[in-house]
């Protein structure tokens, strides 16, 4: 079986977000990383491969982006993916990206496709479900576990107040969130050295138009300053929360 992990190239989560004329992200000094949820998905994919007794023999990653995204792809290869695909197009909206990925892999026979539930740039939370629809396969959202029981695959789906354990025949898209694995894997020295020799296929995009357009960006207004309460007079806080903020 083969697993595909869809990764997105995003600014590091500690980035101080600034915009140029409110039109585009000021990328000066920005460090680019694998989207954190995608990195968890990749880590889980590798754990599954390692514990599958050969049932899973290949983990691949895909991204849609220009040549500037290649260091991010190489990192995924260094972490342990066996091969990578880059669709050579500036990422439009999520519809565009999901469509490109679907077109690039539709005949590749991936059994399990993993995607992060959200991305920390545009917070679309929509890629995985769109991909499922484009491929006409099941998509399961809010997944906090993917496990093998013999040859059967079960998927844990978070629901309000708990989780469902689903039986899920391949192929499917699992849209994963925190809990899928403990922490993202750090690439080993060996992994870093071999990343360059692993196959990275660059494919050209197909015609597709984005359905939405980002017009402008702005930063949130600064909050009024914090009102300090004396630690010796905690009762005052309760009074304020009741009478001023009216939240209790």
């Amino acid at each position: 079986m083969k697993i595909l992990v869809c990764i997105s190239h995003v600014p590091d989560t500690t980035t101080k977000i600034k915009f140029i004329d409110g039109k585009s992200l000021d990328t000066a000094g920005v460090q680019w990383i694998i989207n954190p949820w995608d990195e968890l998905a990749l880590t889980r994919a590798l754990e599954l491969k390692e514990s599958s007794n050969g049932l899973i023999d290949h983990v691949s990653v895909i991204t849609v982006g220009g040549p500037d995204t290649e260091p991010t792809i190489r990192k995924a290869l260094a972490i342990g993916a066996d091969s990578a695909i880059r669709v050579n197009a500036a990422a439009g909206d999520t519809f565009f990206v999901a469509y490109q990925v679907a077109e690039a892999i539709k005949n590749s026979g991936f059994d399990i496709i993993l995607a992060g539930i959200d991305s920390c740039d545009f917070n679309g939370s929509s890629f995985g479900s769109m991909l499922g629809e484009f491929l006409s396969i099941t998509s399961v959202s809010s997944v906090s576990g993917v496990n093998f029981n013999g040859n059967d695959i079960s998927v844990d789906r978070e629901i309000d107040g708990g989780k469902e354990i689903l039986s899920c025949p391949v192929p499917f898209v699992a849209i994963v969130q925190k809990g899928i694995t403990k922490e993202p894997r750090i690439p080993s020295m060996r992994g870093i050295m071999t990343a360059r020799t692993k196959p990275l296929a660059v494919v050209e995009p197909v015609a597709c138009e984005a359905l939405t357009e980002f017009l402008s960006f702005e930063l949130p207004k600064h909050k009024a300053s914090c009102r300090m309460v004396d630690p010796e007079n905690v009762k005052e806080l309760v009074e304020l929360l009741r009478n001023e903020a009216k939240v209790i």
Binding site: T94, E133, G162, L166, L211, F214
Partner: protein
């Protein structure tokens, strides 16, 4: 031509956020000289469904297929698509929650309809259709235009006020022949955490950070939450260390919440944590370090030892509740 909301029910009930969604849809409908209607799939009963009428929903389509025992986004989208076609809907709105995140994108791909998720306010204009959403994990906002005829939104929780406007909605049974060949998944087991207030639903959240020093010191957090009728949460280091379950982790890569009141105890407020609580209405911070960044986003702050402040706060809250 009607604006459609997907009104999710659980155990025969709507949550408050569904009524927020209804209020929002009614307001958008007014902007578009249209009306707001709802699709309900969980069979919550006439009386509960009628409640949507209090928030401006003028018609309710109820779909229920007993044979479908599991939520599957592809199956559910068949129903929504049929409603969109029948009612000629130019706009479909979901909650930005687990269900909405599963359905809205699938429907978008199916209908080639532009989707904007995590919208925080009414459209600034409907022609062209422009909405504002959170981006960079609530560190910024973006104005986004949808260019297609049919449009889809998901609405961020707690971002629109409940607005009452009495209507007497007609309730119609809606039925289509489902293509069940698409249904592949089945539920093997359901594990529920009972008796706890859900973090994502909670009006009040009490959260602990590394400043709590260890899992054995969590009782004051739990007690304060109990006194306030609040849910408990924690920061990332706490869940990473295994002091608390990851389901309690609030932050950029954990849960994004928007309660009315968020009380951060011993949380310094790393930028990633703020990403998870940026939408809280009122933030209270208790921290011994007066320079902790959490005070920059807090509305009320106490600089002091959490282990001294919390017991006093608990008794003050109990006293207040007793009044």
């Amino acid at each position: 031509m009607s604006i459609l909301i997907y009104a999710e029910s659980r155990e025969g009930m709507f949550k408050k956020s569904v009524f927020e969604l209804a209020s929002y849809a009614a307001a958008v409908a007014k902007m578009m000289n249209s009306q707001a209607i709802a699709l309900v799939t969980g069979n919550p009963g006439q009386e509960e469904m009628k409640k949507l009428g209090n928030y401006g929903i003028s018609k309710i389509l109820s779909f229920y297929d007993e044979s479908v025992k599991v939520f599957d986004s592809a199956i559910c989208c068949q129903v929504i698509e049929a409603v969109v076609k029948k009612e000629n809907c130019p706009l479909v709105i979901f909650q930005h929650n687990n269900t909405g995140k599963a359905l809205a994108p699938r429907l978008s791909a199916r209908l080639k309809a532009g989707l904007v998720t995590a919208v925080i306010s009414l459209p600034e204009s409907t022609k062209p259709f422009i909405v504002t959403k959170k981006v960079y994990t609530a560190k910024a906002f973006a104005r986004v235009a949808i260019k297609t005829q049919v449009k889809i939104l998901t609405l961020s929780q707690n971002s629109y006020m409940l607005t009452e406007s009495k209507t007497d909605p007609a309730i119609e049974q809606f039925s289509i022949q489902l293509d069940k060949s698409q249904l592949k998944i089945s539920v093997k087991e359901v594990q529920l955490l009972t008796g706890k207030i859900l973090l994502t639903d909670a009006e009040i959240v009490v959260s602990g950070g590394r400043g709590m020093r260890g899992p054995e010191n969590w009782q004051p957090i739990i007690d304060l939450a109990e006194a306030l009728g609040a849910a408990t949460a924690c920061s990332r280091p706490v869940s990473d260390e295994g002091w608390r379950p990851h389901t309690e982790h609030v932050g950029q890569t954990g849960k994004i919440i928007a309660p009315n009141l968020y009380i951060a105890c011993g949380i310094s407020g790393a930028i990633q944590h703020m990403g998870g609580v940026g939408s809280a209405k009122v933030v209270v911070a208790i921290n011994k370090d007066k320079d902790a960044p959490i005070f920059e986003i807090a509305d009320y702050g106490i600089v002091g030892d959490v282990f001294k402040v919390l017991p006093e706060l608990i008794s003050a809250v109990k006293e207040h509740k007793a009044k």
